[in-house]
Symmetry: C2
Subunit: 357 residues, 2 copies
DNA sequence: TTGAAAGCGCTACCAG
DNA sequence: CTGGTAGCGCTTTCAA
């Protein structure tokens, strides 16, 4: 049979209550007693019964990290950083059972699965939930998510938004901390950079239509065009998934339709890599014949493409930080619990040459 | 306060037992009663208390998927496939609370974290644990893992190995199903293919030294060389991480040391992409000047490199299948619960030209 | 500083 | 087919 806390208590000649106190380290226990208990735990190879303690304490040690696409290294790195931080942040020093179980849930960008996971985590009485990446822009779904989050918060679950815009400000928001990126400003700078170099025929490969990140970045792009007095030709913008294949397909179509393009902006780094591939496949050199610019969510991916102009979001460190704060402290980020991380323009290699010039 | 099963029972004018039966769908309930209960559930927006039911039933709905590197798309795809299958496979049809919570745990390749996660999952009384990817080859660690798995199995947790070699056969193995890849044969074919084309100066970029996948693939490579009577120059093999940077670094060093290499085998596809990058950076064309071959764990990544020779492991589908079987049925794969998936040789583009020939 | 005991919410066995 | 009810193992007052 499984070893229970009572068994440990018996062996250590103390009451179950005392064993519990030693394990949770949240109550004074005499050093000698403590030693005895810890010995018994070791001897019996005791492992806490999570469900039982979760039931009694009405909170579990589970932390759910929701990501849009686990196969996207961008989310992989985020999740990995958050997990590392959470694991490292053991609650009370000396506690045995204090470790959190940080766990990644892949929604695949599906609204239903997002809600399902939220319900599942609610069911488990999760200690915290971290929502990462762009949100889906559907009023019904947003409302459903907000309602779920309210329920979760009500039950004591800590909510953190990471790389996702803040919820519409409401009285008593359920969100503990929000970390959002200034996607508009980033995109504006990115396109602005290309415009400053003299580009005017600029293609744009956007993400899926119904995502906040997609919209915000596109808005920034258009704002930059408008500010420079460059007409925004809708045909120069194509939507697709946040992946390489989409970048290849979109760039191919853009260049077919308008071979005179001198630059392409990509909505994320994976797409940007695809655009480079498509350009090279047509015999275009990057950046001599075609400048490519993109959001560098994932530094390691684009570091090997020196010709890329990027806006870097310090997502990884920030994400980890948010996760850490969410779990170990009650601290909020700045006023309203919202911290906005500015975008940083990174220019690698030469992007100054305009095709035909 | 939170809505409990008793509240639902009260509203539906039935006993808690009946509500439980409706929710779990594991017992006959009159249609009318069932309807009444379901209505009450909806009305009250009831959500099962996971810990409570886990405690009572002494098993939870948690399924842990352990991966070596969540930032590696290879694992991302595996995990994602397994999650999809598990989510799709709702236990008893009509059950409300039957969904499993499939969750990814990132060990980062660290032995300690592997054990920690196993303990955490044990604590949660996980329904199943899926271990993916190569195992660490350290006797102490292997023993510790085996012991943990035994404990887990004892407590009813289902264990599945996926893309990982079977445990040393012992009486009453704790493992429900094992799905392993014939890495040796795959590597042998890969290198054999290059040898058949006439290559004799072949570099090899291996993974981390202490992994089973690393060793098996390297053994296959050497076996192929031996079979062809080609001397195995140890200097032509370099170890590194399973990532692109490592591929670039290793290929650079290999080509510096021996510019006459005509082919390079990479221990996984990400490394292979790095090797291609490094080759191109030196002005070598692939495959005209340098043939590159690699394990194609992740089809989508290498599909954009037509010149690559690869051995494809049908990991994704197989992994999903294993996860499904582990969770929904008790079926084992083949004798001993071990299914070995053969490697399939894929040759894209021309790899027939040998440099200098 | 420690012990005793009352639940936490659900499952499953035993009656009916 | 349905109800009653005894735990599951742990936490947490309340006393001592």
């Amino acid at each position: 049979m499984t070893v229970t806390l009572a068994d440990v208590a018996h062996r250590a000649q103390v009451s179950p209550a005392t064993v519990s106190r030693v394990l949770n380290g949240n109550y004074p226990v005499a050093a000698a007693t403590r030693e005895r208990v810890l010995r018994a735990v070791k001897d019996l190879d005791y492992v806490v019964n999570g469900p039982a303690s979760a039931l009694a304490a009405s909170t579990s040690s589970l932390v759910g990290i929701l990501v849009n696409d686990i196969a996207d290294p961008f989310f992989g790195i985020m999740a990995s950083a958050a997990q590392a931080q959470i694991s490292g942040a053991e609650g009370t020093p000396g506690a045995i059972g204090g470790e959190k179980l940080a766990v990644v849930c892949n929604t695949g960008g599906s609204p239903e699965r997002e809600l399902t996971y939220l319900t599942l985590l609610q069911r488990q009485r999760a200690a915290a939930v971290i929502l990462t990446g762009g949100a889906i822009e559907d009023p019904d779904h947003s409302a459903a998510v907000a309602a779920k989050l309210a329920r979760l918060a009500e039950a004591g679950t800590r909510i953190v938004l990471c790389g996702r815009p803040p919820l519409p400000p409401s009285a008593g928001s359920p969100v503990t901390a929000t970390l959002s990126f200034d996607n508009r400003a980033g995109a504006r700078r990115l396109t602005g950079h290309l415009l400053a170099l003299g580009h005017t025929r600029i293609g744009y490969v956007a993400g899926p239509a119904e995502r906040t990140t997609t919209r915000h970045r596109l808005e920034g792009h258009r704002a930059a065009l408008a500010a420079a007095g460059v007409a925004d030709d809708p045909a120069r913008t194509l939507h697709g998934a946040f992946d390489r294949a989409s970048g290849i397909a979109a760039a191919t179509r853009l260049l077919d339709a308008e071979p005179g393009l001198t630059a392409v902006v990509a909505a994320n780094d994976t797409i940007a890599l695809g655009v480079c591939t498509a350009a090279r496949a047509r015999g275009l050199r990057v950046p001599e014949d075609l400048s490519v610019a993109g959001f560098d969510d994932l530094p390691s991916a684009t570091d090997t493409v020196p010709a890329l102009t990027t806006v870097r979001l310090p997502l990884i460190e920030a994400g980890a930080r948010a996760g850490l704060l969410a779990v170990t402290r009650e601290t909020s980020h700045g006023p309203d619990g919202v911290e906005t991380v500015p975008a940083e323009l990174v220019v690698r290699g030469s992007t100054g040459a305009i095709r035909g010039a």
